[in-house]
């Protein structure tokens, strides 16, 4: 076990993969000499050189597009998008190329690559630096979508993503980079499995990324007010998602709440609720609840910003109210 920050866990995963395989390269804006906007690649350029820590121009389409070509050419690239909103310039490459080349070529092309994807509401970065795109990414067949909620998963899943021969979008939340946690370096972690953060009996709360922490912050109040116990699940892998773990939990508790930071309309949680309604309708004792971001661009003003996304207080209040109306 080792205690480290989320960004240190990511750094360590990349470092170990680069040490083990000279074909692993990383590219993006300021990933080399600068050490990465969120310091994820700090120190790596002095170990592996500028040939492997590639500072690119501000041209996201090319960052992902070049990474695809590098993968075709035999390298194992890690492309860093500085922040999710910028990735929209690369969505043609992600969707039309990265996700499709293997299938369209009947498996003749493989793309062993990772696109690292910091996202989410940080602090007053306003509408063009605060969004979340897991819902769009998860709607694309041909890519794996991981979302790291803690240092342990960040370390293990990023390593696995780099080693895998399939393209992975690896989502990180910008407010988690300085989150400290235990990393079990020797553990075998299956990146496709969800993690039960807290066991409980009466309701299942499903979340991912930073919202897991906000849910955990809300749980004491919920349990105090309702007298019931919550099971909290960090999905971790968003596509595919671990229906086995969810099913076992929902069959036990009979109640489902999904908490997500992205906009509610078309948000990722809709997929989880829809799956539960289709597959586990008779296991549910109440209609599921979705708590999500408002359908509004993220505003700059702190008060408005917090009003646009779930917070621990709002999560607790909504679940308590929903519980009261649904026999919890």
């Amino acid at each position: 076990m080792a205690e480290m920050l989320y960004r240190e866990a990511l750094n360590r995963a990349i470092d170990e993969c680069m040490a083990a395989d000279p074909n692993v390269v990383m590219l993006g804006e300021d990933v080399g000499l600068y050490g990465g906007s969120y310091r994820v690649s700090e120190g790596l350029v002095s170990k592996y050189g500028e040939k492997r820590l590639i500072d690119t121009p501000i041209a996201e389409l090319s960052i992902v597009g070049n990474a695809i070509g590098m993968a075709i050419g035999g390298l194992r690239p890690i492309a860093e998008i500085m922040t999710a909103n910028f990735s929209l310039l690369a969505f043609d490459q992600i969707i039309n190329h990265m996700a499709k080349y293997r299938y369209m070529s009947a498996g003749k092309l493989t793309l062993p690559m990772v696109v690292r994807f910091p996202q989410g509401v940080s602090k007053q970065l306003a509408a063009q630096h605060s969004e979340s795109y897991e819902q769009m990414l998860s709607a694309v067949p041909g890519i794996r979508v991981f979302a790291a909620g803690d240092p342990n998963y960040a370390y293990h899943a990023l390593k696995k993503a780099i080693l895998m021969d399939d393209p992975v979008v690896f989502i990180e939340h910008e407010l988690l980079y300085n989150k400290k946690g235990e990393v079990d370096l020797d553990a075998e972690v299956d990146p496709f499995k969800a993690r039960i953060v807290k066991e409980g009996e009466d309701l299942t709360i499903v979340s991912y990324l930073k919202m897991v922490d906000d849910v955990m912050a809300a749980v004491p109040e919920i349990e105090k007010q309702t007298g019931k116990s919550c099971e909290v699940i960090d999905l971790q892998s968003l596509n595919p998602f671990d229906t086995g773990t969810l099913k076992a939990s929902i069959e036990k508790t009979g109640r489902l709440v999904v908490v997500e930071e992205d906009h509610k309309m078309g948000g990722y949680g809709a997929q989880v609720v829809s799956w539960a309604a289709e597959s586990l309708f008779y296991a549910l004792d109440a209609a599921p609840l979705r708590i999500a971001g408002e359908n509004v661009p993220i505003p700059y003003n702190r008060k408005l910003e917090l009003a646009s996304i779930p917070t621990p207080d709002k999560i607790a209040a909504k679940i308590i109210e929903w519980g009261a109306n649904n026999g919890l």
């Binding site: 070049n66 070509g69 035999g74 039309n96 299938y103 498996g107 493989t110 399939d166 998602f241 671990d242």
Partner: protein, 321 residues
């Protein structure tokens, strides 16, 4: 160019044209569907470029049947792909626009105009990284030179001195829009001039294309950085089979038909290499046989099974969840 190469290029051009006419015929019968972009009139460029660029990787567009064949992919596997069959080079997943074969360093087959250029640049980075003898050739039309991906690619290839040849196939029309209506000049190489050396070549002259690409290949192999070649040519058919072609006058098409690259190469064979009419006839016959066999193979081949729908999506299966 030696005589054997000249004959090989002529043969492949003849095969290519017959292949395209056969594809057109079988599109009319409904055996081929979707979008079908024919390369008739541009055979010199498609064939000579592929034959000349023998030390590298090729990234190209959706008008690529002849290039794929010239690269070494069996005409049978290409035609079967057009027919959507299991025996097609992409097992019926790709169709006309998506032919790939890494064993021939041929990476398609991309149908997002200009979208493959960053991929080609990335592959050139890999080749430089590996200190490989291979360079990369990116083939694209005049229409691709107006998009952002094109300019990003010129910039990066130039900044990093990557071994890549940009081959612009200027046939003057981006679907129905003449290039000079949406760009300030006809010669798209002007856009590359700030970044790299540029060359111009008659795209309907197979010998000229071959020699230009050979020279370019040697240049990029030496580590000088990228190079840009613009080849002027003309497609005789519409953009795709669904294009009525009303934007071009019959007179204009007639002018270009008189510059037929195949007739020109035939003349070269006879005058420069002393190939007889009978020998040319034999090459034409051999090409026709290859196309007939490709059609028969495609026609008789099985379709993929519905049970294969998810095959090739991922390398690593996820068994739980």
């Amino acid at each position: 160019m030696d005589k054997l190469t000249a004959e090989e290029i002529y043969y492949t051009m003849a095969l290519g044209r017959k292949f395209e006419y056969a594809a057109k015929e079988h599109y009319m019968t409904g055996e081929i569907s979707g979008f079908l972009h024919l390369d008739i009139g541009q055979e010199a460029l498609s064939v000579a470029a592929m034959k000349a660029f023998d030390h590298g990787d090729v990234f190209t567009t959706y008008r690529e049947h002849i290039m794929a064949i010239a690269r070494g992919i069996e005409p049978k596997a290409v035609m079967a792909e057009l027919f959507g069959k299991k025996t097609g080079v992409s097992e019926g997943r790709g169709g006309s626009m998506h032919l790939f074969d890494p064993s021939h360093f041929f990476y398609g087959g991309d149908a997002i105009v200009g979208g493959h250029l960053p991929n080609a640049v990335g592959c050139a980075y890999a080749r430089k990284f590996q200190e490989s003898e291979h360079g990369v050739m990116a083939v694209f039309g005049d229409g691709a030179t107006n998009g952002g991906a094109f300019f990003e690619s010129l910039n990066i290839a130039s900044a990093w001195k990557l071994p890549i040849l940009f081959l612009c196939e200027n046939n003057r029309y981006a679907i129905g829009t003449e290039i000079t209506r949406v760009a300030p000049f006809l010669e798209q190489a002007k856009k590359a001039e700030p970044y790299m050396p540029t060359m111009e070549v008659d795209g309907n002259d197979a010998v000229a294309v071959y020699e230009a690409i050979k020279e370019a290949q040697a240049y990029i192999q030496k580590g000088h950085g990228p190079l840009f070649i613009e080849a002027f040519t003309y497609r005789w058919e519409g953009h795709s089979m669904s294009d009525p072609g009303s934007y071009r006058s019959p007179e204009e098409i007639e002018i270009w038909k008189r510059r037929d690259p195949i007739e020109r190469m035939k003349t070269v064979l006879k005058e420069r290499y002393g190939v007889s009419d009978a020998q040319i006839e034999a090459l034409d016959q051999k090409a026709q046989t290859a196309v007939d066999e490709a059609v028969a193979f495609a026609s008789e081949s099985p379709e993929p099974e519905v049970s294969e729908l998810f095959e090739h999506l991922f390398v690593e299966e996820v068994t739980h969840g």
